[in-house]
Chain length 338, copies 2
DNA sequence: ACTGGCACTCCGAGAGCGGGAGTGCCAAAC
DNA sequence: GTTTGGCACTCCCGCTCTCGGAGTGCCAGT
């Protein structure tokens, strides 16, 4: 494929993203210094259409990039636009003010949606990929304790727990010591195996309590494996009038379904730092006109994903830059808090 | 005002809510057994319009209730439709499965939005109206502890805290004992005064740590006073096509602004169990076409509010019944968990 | 006080009509 | 053989116009 043809494609993508209207040969030859006439551009366009990168909504309208066209643009043409120094400072400052993990996630998701003017989604650090930092037992009454689990990413989970028998304060401390000995520093995925043996390790008088504890702990580890996600910027969907058509409704619904969000975020090509999925590449029906840009984040290893979703006609270079930058900063912060 | 005129108003409200179209005299006289002719209904309509309860979008169209009309309907005409037995059972079952406070709130907000087909908003139990059930200090490293606060409603707040000096395990326990002695059972609003004296009560060696702790505690109590809210059912906004016009965008934005949501939920007429605010009665500009139905909830005293918002043309009897029922169940659950 | 009749209003859907933007193709030029 | 200007053609979109229908207000009669 000709270099100039690629330039024409780039021009079409950029103009279409900017104006939201089909772009014609004349516009391309004028606004982008290609040094050729509109007629030449027309020939190239015919080729690009033949090859499936662009298409016409109707005869005698300009061209619109296809998913395949965007894909080529993202892979080979889009030079990532780094954030401005001011933006970088703002990101840094805003995130540095976060006081705990919840706050980090909340701020991140807002930041992303504001930087990109799109819908942002941030997954909380996955319990599956975390290790136990500490377990705490808080006696509320003699037969009722609260179990608090803190992971290495700072995520805190708590569960109430009714005991089969009254526990003295010392007993609580002993159980606390026991479970911490067993679990501290261990990856959460290994926890179920360890928990199974918990009751046997306790001294006879505590067996029952220990196994009640073990049961709740197991539940916490397993049932809470359902991932949590934060969403922001839903209002941005209304910017893109084309969405109004039919999909707005279903997309809003999907944004409240954690399962769907996780599908969007999750299927990252392992290894890749940043994934872009365009239109049909999302295998979910309601997102056939949606592009998703996601990145993994975490201290060292990836513990979660964050991303942005919007119409396929989005500013890829800018969005990619924003997602990447924010993911990096958040990773740094988690690293520091470790 | 005539009894029949009220019946006419009721008919207009009910039909308009059902069909979303201006309702004419003929429709009223036919579909509601008033026993009078369309001409008579027209006379009553003229009166109702004069009195400001209904209006015509244009000459020769049917009538639409005004905010004032809805208000009258809600206050005097709407017999609350109790939930069906099946619905009540479903609510009960769904909420009973909740495993902790977060879960209660999440389930509540979903439930409300599904029952009413509208946007639901639930405020987390306000820290301002809670008392301290327990404070826990978790030593993560010798100079770093996590402070966990549990309130009587089951809400858990945690904060990381760097200490000025290393603390032995016993010291941590002592501090823990100290703050619990001082704060346990106290309303959170009184906490700032108590916290101020905390450092002085500690033995000299712990002064610095105690005051660092006090500082963070104070911050937690104060800064976290910003209320948390959960939202669900935003997709329901798209049901009401009239919203599409202009306000959809601003309403979606407002739904992400906790401040605005709290204004909507908060200004409950004190004393009233359930508040309905219609159109202009919400003093926020973007909600001039929105009605809000809110109820307080809590074990005994009100600790938070929940509600539903939608177009002024909403099914008030059904919505009111749903909000009231859910608020009651949630209050019961909090009572049990106390 | 209620009713049937009637003239009047006005919205909104549909048809019809250019203008304009964009195309494809061709023959000439570089 | 690639590029270019010219030209006929297509088709969308916004405009006006028309017309039917629903609904009203008023009046005279019961």
């Amino acid at each position: 494929m000709d270099d100039r043809k690629l330039e024409v494609l780039r021009a079409i993508v950029e103009d279409y993203v900017a104006t939201q209207e089909p772009v014609g040969s004349k516009a391309v030859s004028q606004r982008h210094a290609l040094g050729v006439s509109a007629a030449t551009v027309r020939n190239d366009m015919a080729y690009l259409e033949e090859a499936g990168y662009i298409h016409q909504p109707h005869t005698s309208a300009g061209r619109i990039p296809t998913d395949k066209g965007y894909r080529l643009f993202v892979d080979r043409l889009g030079k990532i636009k780094p954030l401005s120094a001011a933006e970088r400072r703002a990101v840094h400052r805003f995130l540095a003010e976060a006081i705990d993990l919840d706050d980090v996630v909340t701020r991140t998701v807002r930041l992303l949606s504001q930087l990109t003017h799109q819908v942002a989604v941030v997954q909380y650090p996955s319990l599956n990929r975390s290790t136990v930092r500490h377990l705490e037992l808080v006696a509320l009454t003699p037969t009722r304790v609260m179990l608090v689990m803190i992971t290495d990413t700072g995520r805190v989970e708590q569960r109430l727990l009714d005991l089969p028998a009254e526990l003295a304060e010392d007993d609580v401390l002993e159980l606390r010591r026991l479970i911490n000995e067993q679990l501290q520093g261990k990856p959460l995925v290994d926890a179920p195996d360890i928990i199974g043996d918990l009751a046997e390790l306790a001294r006879p008088g505590l067996r029952d309590s220990a196994s009640a504890l073990a049961r709740v702990l197991l539940e916490t580890v397993v049932s809470r494996t359902e991932e949590r996600v934060a969403v922001a910027g839903a209002a941005n969907l209304t910017r893109h009038t084309a969405y109004f058509a039919g999909s707005l409704r279903t997309i809003l619904e999907a944004l409240e379904e954690e399962v769907v969000l996780m599908q969007l975020l999750g299927r990252t090509d392992s290894g890749a730092l940043l994934t872009v999925r365009i239109g049909d590449e999302n295998e979910i029906d309601d997102f056939r006109e949606t592009a998703v840009v996601t990145a993994g984040y975490g201290p060292g290893a990836v513990v979660g994903h964050m991303g942005v979703l919007g119409p396929t006609r989005m500013d890829y270079p800018g969005t990619i830059a924003a997602v990447r930058a924010v993911a990096r900063y958040v990773s740094e912060i988690l690293e520091q808090n470790r």
